[in-house]
Symmetry: C2
Subunit: 550 residues, 2 copies
């Protein structure tokens, strides 16, 4: 209901506002720019208390915009979160989960068979109805097989990669991950797009920002480009800044999804940023991203479109403490990190920026979700969310423009298991698990230095009858469960129970996409590989159950 009201209100604003008039004098909805980080934690920004305070541009964005300290992703892992952002739906609905074990995290490595189902309606696809041109820069992660290509799901342009920048691989047992421009690959990680694992040097963030010289030069220097390939390079790369400029010149509303991945292990930064952070290489990556965000916001201001562009910054999941401290970030005061349904795994940095519309220097305590970016973006475009399916996102416009606070639950899933829910200040855990003792003994630790007895468990502990409940205001670190006998506990449980029951009764799970793996589906011969002479021969097709140990 709130979303519908906001849309109506927004349409009125559009009609009334001269700033929203496009070239032809017709009302033009605002541009939408979603800046999605990879494994960046709540505590990684100065404005969120990172002690080295090395994010002046993001801190300024917050000072000029609205900060959401209670903003959540939809899953403690990358692919499902990204699918949730673009569909406005929980992974359990859109299929980005696995049923191959109880409460298992799953994602899209290159042997995954599944991906975003055709039946899902993605944000860029819907925004087309309002005349938007959409681009994804960076990591897609919703499947890499042909049917899952982002340009088949509403995006008009893509520069980036379908999978994580893991590697280097030998191109025999496992191909290196391709980098795409639009429909075709233009190279591979560790080949045309080098990442030096020893020094941490890579120019990818600069490329995603668009500094033509950076990757072209680098690739040319590497001497790997034949004349045929060089033509690809000589057509100017059209990443974030260039895309913005082109759409502004054409006076078309745009949706830019800037999904950089420098803070995902192996973390990287370009040479000018390497060694500049007090935090080591992870901090170098953050500094380069912060600098890029500053350039993007400045560019919007220089082009005179800051007041007609809605910008939102967030991250796909909590910092990967398993990679800390050299390759992982900070979740501030929160418990554990990526892979877990504690706050450190799912509470995210979040900043909205829209000068002249969103009041400056505000903090909203609205419980927000990455899925709200779907519904909010539709509202901005004057569109309704699809009515033929459950949508979990709500429009944040009432929170952002009128300072409203809307009651809503936050659900924390691993696989198809509802692990926890937050309602107001109370979080109830129905299941607790970090990872198995077996993994933990091998050094895989999602909660280094943290150990809350009975909470950060290494066996899957069920609490569905008597959930562990925390008051997140007094106890953001989830260290002090409420006493089962307290009035406060009983009151909280009484409020939470019907919300969960309603959610579970109405839930129609999607077809799980992340159950089956197959070496044959890896990135052996992506489209465009022939032109580059980079096609590889796939092995025999052997579908098997993917292994999701945690």
């Amino acid at each position: 209901m709130a979303a519908v009201t906001a849309v109506t209100r927004w349409r009125l604003l559009l009609v009334l506002s001269a700033a929203a008039l496009g070239a032809a004098g017709a009302p033009q909805p605002p541009n939408i720019l979603l800046l999605l980080m990879d494994d960046m934690g709540w505590g990684d920004l100065g404005v969120y208390g990172e002690p080295s305070r090395e994010t002046p541009n993001l801190d300024r964005m917050a000072a000029e915009g609205m900060l959401f300290p209670n903003f959540y992703t939809a899953n403690p892992l990358c692919s499902p979160s990204r699918a949730a952002l673009l569909t406005g739906r929980l992974p359990i609905r859109n299929g980005f989960y696995t049923t191959s074990g109880h409460a298992r995290n799953a994602y899209t490595p290159q042997e995954i068979v599944g991906g975003i189902p055709d039946s899902e309606r993605l944000l860029p696809e819907l925004l087309k109805e309002a005349g938007y041109v959409s681009k994804i820069v960076g990591k897609w992660h919703l499947g890499h097989r042909p049917q899952f290509h982002p340009l088949k799901h509403g995006f008009d342009e893509w520069f980036g990669s379908p999978n994580c920048h893991f590697g280097p691989y030998d191109n025999r047992a496992r191909p290196n991950i391709p980098v795409y421009r639009d429909w075709e690959m233009v190279g591979r990680y560790y080949e045309e797009f080098p990442i030096n694992l020893k020094t941490g040097e890579a120019n990818l963030t600069q490329i995603y920002l668009q500094v033509m010289g950076a990757w072209a030069g680098r690739a040319l220097d590497a001497g790997r480009w034949a004349s045929g390939r060089r033509r690809t390079l000589c057509s100017p790369p059209q990443e974030a800044l260039d895309f913005i400029r082109r759409q502004q010149a054409a006076r078309r509303p745009f949706f830019l999804y800037w999904a950089v991945d420098a803070t995902h292990a192996p973390v990287y930064a370009s040479k000018p940023f390497l060694g500049t952070s007090q935090r080591g290489r992870y901090g170098d990556a953050v500094r380069e991203i912060d600098d890029s965000v500053g350039k993007i916001l400045h560019s919007l201001q220089d082009l005179g479109i800051a007041e007609s562009t809605f910008v939102f910054f967030t991250s796909d999941n909590g910092a990967a403490l398993i990679s800390a401290p050299k390759q992982g970030g900070s979740n501030g005061p929160f418990l554990c990190g990526k892979q877990t349904t504690f706050e450190g795994g799912m509470r995210e940095p979040a900043v909205a920026w829209w000068p002249g519309r969103i009041p400056a220097g505000q903090v909203s305590h609205q419980l927000g979700s990455i899925m709200d970016l779907f519904t909010t973006s539709l509202s901005l475009a004057g569109l309704e969310p699809p009515r033929d399916r459950a949508i979990d996102g709500l429009s944040l416009l009432p929170a952002m423009l009128q300072g409203q606070l809307m009651d809503r639950p936050i659900f924390y899933y691993r696989g198809n298991t509802l692990m926890a829910v937050t309602l107001g200040q109370y979080k109830a855990h129905f299941w607790t698990w970090t990872n198995s003792w077996e993994e933990f003994r091998q050094g895989i630790d999602f909660c280094p230095g943290q150990n809350v007895s009975g909470v950060t468990t290494h066996t899957q502990e069920e609490h569905t009858r008597l959930p562990l409940i925390f008051h997140l205001g007094r106890d953001p670190g989830e260290r002090f469960p409420l006493s089962f006998a307290s009035t406060e506990y009983l009151d909280a449980l009484r409020r939470i129970t019907p919300v969960v029951r309603q959610h579970q009764e109405a839930l129609i799970p999607g077809q799980p996409q992340l159950n089956v793996c197959n070496q044959a589906v890896m990135n052996w011969a992506p489209p465009g590989c022939e032109k580059l002479g980079k096609c590889l021969t796939p092995p025999e097709s052997v579908p098997e159950k993917c292994s999701w140990p945690h």
Copy 2:
């Protein structure tokens, strides 16, 4: 050396600056206002990442001033930290420590025999030489016997208490703690100055701020004041705001030491603030203090003396996690809390504010110490620190006015044991200890939910030959000790070793003040008790060794 240079430079500034001219046209040094919190943690302010972000006034103070994310107290406990602030010297030098056990924390409960030695020269005493009028509002904590009275150590006025606001006591086995106005007590906690332990209501922060009606009304309501006592109330209380106004009117430079204690367990707030925080009662106390700081800063601006008043906000030690979550705060991403020499015990929130002098919105990564407030204040007054003794504080004026970064170590002591040192980004632990297994098993936990193997030890672990070293930039939570075999470890140790050796060789410990306790020295009959009919009879004098279990 840096301090001397700064003083010289500052004198020049004073001469050149019209704003610094007093009534008679003579240069007048700036007023000094030190806001010292009690058990407030690094993570308790919005600007330091507290998720509920309930400190708009302190956040504004930081936005208009300079934030020090790397600022330390001198001890993880209240009395020694306060003695260090006012003497500019480590507790091991000024006597605020115990030798009655290895690495023991000690303070000044009311049975303590010791206190601040006459031989120590306190900041207000020295500031007199430059014409300052000094007042302490709130908690003194440097001894409560007659010779330790703050007005015998340089302060001109006092409103507050010599010990913690523990109680209520029965006035037979143990007297309630007195509250003083200047030389004489004006009542006792839980009697004329009620603290409702059940509701958390107390008007003390308002009194410390100065809202006449608040405590006078309260005390009168309580019906405990005889006519003779009422006279005391009718002479207006002269706490923070009133003191500032009087000094401004008299055109005398002032030093106000505002040492409020609402965030020390039992935490309290006045009725208008109770129940207003998302964080519970602790948050209510923080909100009331934040509101008071806002009023103080506004008052300086209204009086036109903001540009001639140096204000510094910090805390005496880390949040008391032992009292969390209902009565204790947050140390953000840092390890453990009060009582420990991990970062959570000694890294403090710190904000400097001096409009027109300290540039707005700056962050200084200077390693700062509470003892620097002594030397900085002297520099501001155009005075030199005493030359006849070791002074640990340095002047922060070069950091605040010129953005300089000065190399200096931070020493972490428990009792007379050097537990750790930080130099640059590296922290070396020579001893690790939280508390004994025996205490821990009784539920006394200084690091709830945190457990870093071999670091948060419950036995006193010696590492003097091969210290545990952490890189605080990459690993502010002290979770990942550097590998002993790494070049980084060896380089850090090579830098740290001579600094520690020099410190220890030159160290002349003061006479330990916190070894002896005696029931007879408690606050039985403080000066002024006769007028109030509140004198109690002390028991027989039995000096004994104080018990300091951790």
